[in-house]
Symmetry: C3
Subunit: 334 residues, 3 copies
Amino acid sequence: MVEERFYKHLGPLPLIELLDTLDVDIPEGQFGDIQIQNAAPIGQAANADITYLDGKNVAKKSAGCKAAACFVRAGNAHLVGQNNVLALISNQPQADFAKVLGHMYAPLKYGKNGNPSFTNVTPNQGVVIGAGAEIGEGTSIGPNSVIGPGVRIGANCQIGANVVIEFSRLGDGCKIHHGAVLGGTGFGVTPSADGAVDVPHVGSVRLGDHVSIGCNTTIDRAMFGETKIGTGSKLDNLIQIAHNVQIGNNCMFAAFVGIAGSARIGNGVIMGGGVGIPDHISIGDGVTLVAQAGPIRDVPAGETWGGAPATPIREQLRQLSALRKLVKKKPPAK
Amino acid sequence: MVEERFYKHLGPLPLIELLDTLDVDIPEGQFGDIQIQNAAPIGQAANADITYLDGKNVAKKSAGCKAAACFVRAGNAHLVGQNNVLALISNQPQADFAKVLGHMYAPLKYGKNGNPSFTNVTPNQGVVIGAGAEIGEGTSIGPNSVIGPGVRIGANCQIGANVVIEFSRLGDGCKIHHGAVLGGTGFGVTPSADGAVDVPHVGSVRLGDHVSIGCNTTIDRAMFGETKIGTGSKLDNLIQIAHNVQIGNNCMFAAFVGIAGSARIGNGVIMGGGVGIPDHISIGDGVTLVAQAGPIRDVPAGETWGGAPATPIREQLRQLSALRKLVKKKPPAK
Amino acid sequence: MVEERFYKHLGPLPLIELLDTLDVDIPEGQFGDIQIQNAAPIGQAANADITYLDGKNVAKKSAGCKAAACFVRAGNAHLVGQNNVLALISNQPQADFAKVLGHMYAPLKYGKNGNPSFTNVTPNQGVVIGAGAEIGEGTSIGPNSVIGPGVRIGANCQIGANVVIEFSRLGDGCKIHHGAVLGGTGFGVTPSADGAVDVPHVGSVRLGDHVSIGCNTTIDRAMFGETKIGTGSKLDNLIQIAHNVQIGNNCMFAAFVGIAGSARIGNGVIMGGGVGIPDHISIGDGVTLVAQAGPIRDVPAGETWGGAPATPIREQLRQLSALRKLVKKKPPAK
């Protein structure tokens, strides 16, 4: 599932070796010869993989788990045991999984074989292109931009100056303006006994056709899978799109929009400046969010919301009006 | 009107050729020999130019129009016809104009003749300077910065590292801090039958003397004409200034200020962190906007406003006070 | 006090020469032979130093002042005179001090001796490393990043592409993601007769171990002393940390957090997206600030606050609830 286009797969690795530095209760019995193929989320783990179980809905999540081994709290061990998965008892299942994940994959390096000859693109000065990158006909790349190993850029794209694109696939006709960063690691942190641990991100970014990304905007790659922005969507400068966000087609976002992890944005959504979307929220097709809106629950298709916490705009206007009347009724004491 | 210092003018071009890919009702009669010199907004179009008419106040806008041809909705065709302008009937006048504009001008390229020898500046490593750029005495440029073709930088400026400056003129004594981007294309998008279309930006950026621009701040160039920041104005990190914004002298803006297209900001205006200004708003001389303020109409000179939507600060404080009293009066049910 | 690792000390300089371009009332008597060693804040100035006195609490600030000379308003001259400090009468003490400070120190240049050979790091293409920089074992540096003179980076750090790090010390295991800027000059401006004057920043940035800094995030260096981020703290993309901010260990900040000058943030503080902290505020250990919160006074340890201006979250929820009820009671006129 982790793409070898972007990441070097270091497995299979002996389970005993992966557990070497971790503080887990290793179950009794012989398992010194178990080889772990991949690290994957519990719903996607195959027979030879390692995974973890924690958080909400553990019973549902663990149903049908096929992994070879699973980091799990003692109280949940029976759930994975039902599936004949080896339970690795831990007080910090996600942190332990994060560490194993970091041992299992490594991003490809730019290497000495960077800047391979491209017959169809004349990069400007200072451009660095990683091995295995593919760049379509008619695409231009501004000075001092960096294109990571394995990145695929479509035809007739315009890449500005000082841009960084890693772990990404871009369609045709995209414009990535100066200083934008695509494919940076997502902000995923999990607590551990040693403080917060960065969860490795081994996913990628996918842009449709004719997507525009503004200056100094940042689009994080997915933890697993893809962060997606659909065809025709236009993002202004200084926007933040977190890991695993899914954005539909023909959206328009103004500056300082921030969309947190795994939020889902429909087609044709318009967001004013400074709108913030929390993680895992869904915004329906054709929604308009006015500047500085902060929805804290799903917004149904076609609606216009404002305020923080955001409400339908009519409700927002009523609240403001009521507040103004309240003030008028009671003039402040002199 | 579009400056040949920054853009290559590709005209004159035959009108018939410009319309070739567009879905417009071509009027009857012979016009195969009409040559179009420039693409310009309706108020500025000269006799041999192409323009468009749409939006509000179409009667006022079209008065005295001198263009050779004008994209216009069927219902407005009589307005341009009065001036003997050839009406090009379209359901998407601005989108069609945008496409023609893109055919008419091309940004100059860095070209092989980049990094011309400068007798008065010793650029650091990795600096890329486009042909025709002029850099004043005593100006320094940090490593890996990119100065576009035709850019003019005054004397005694300090340009940081990884800066991008294109389509811009800077006065003397300016400081452009690391990662800032000046002259990126503005965020102008217009709907069309094929989804949103980027409107080409063929204007520039002008900074007065002693202007400071913070790290990773972005200043977009104008669609036509100039985005301006007056002498002595100081902008913090991570600020966004959109296309065609006009900022006076001696302003001070804190981080995350965002100013939308064509807003006009007076002299000596102070904005706290996170202030957002909508497009086409005017902020008077000497105004103070407290952190996170979001005015939605013009703010008169000398006033202090806060809140979102912003009001005079006294009104804001009254609203907050009234709200606090309201809560005290009605304790929540247990 | 200003570190020669980062700045060239140009003193001692004759006082008469430093005052040459300033509009100060030079006191009577001979002082042509006074040599000024350093420029320092009044609490830190040693016998041969120059300083300034202005703002609040001037009596307290001036107690025990040891400087050789002090810019001071006429009305406060007696305060410095008590300590046998030469009073330099000025209508703009901080602006005059700022100008002197700029004459006293100059940042080290990258110089021709940039990119010294490192036996322990293989920088990627386009990396520029200033003289005197130290980079620990196992640290990697992405393409086109810029490491300033004297910067010290610990072991096993990951520096992304197009990063700028100047005037900074980083511990071990830090991750600085693409486009981030560490050590940019702070946003310190003081009014003067000639408009706002940038105050030179001659301090630095210090990061503990295992600190993560997101893409295009900016961390300003201190005016004097250090801007600090403690071990294990994790900052998302597009965050702004101003000069002299002190951040504890194991904090987690989401995108668009902005922290103004000299604010103090405890250990284990969590901030949602878009939180803004004014200058000189203290946020206690273990505080949580929800997205878009804007505290305007100190927040005690362990509390959760929201809203702008921020209040304890329970109060915030009560206000929202009261407002909703108020609207329900009075349906809007049709």
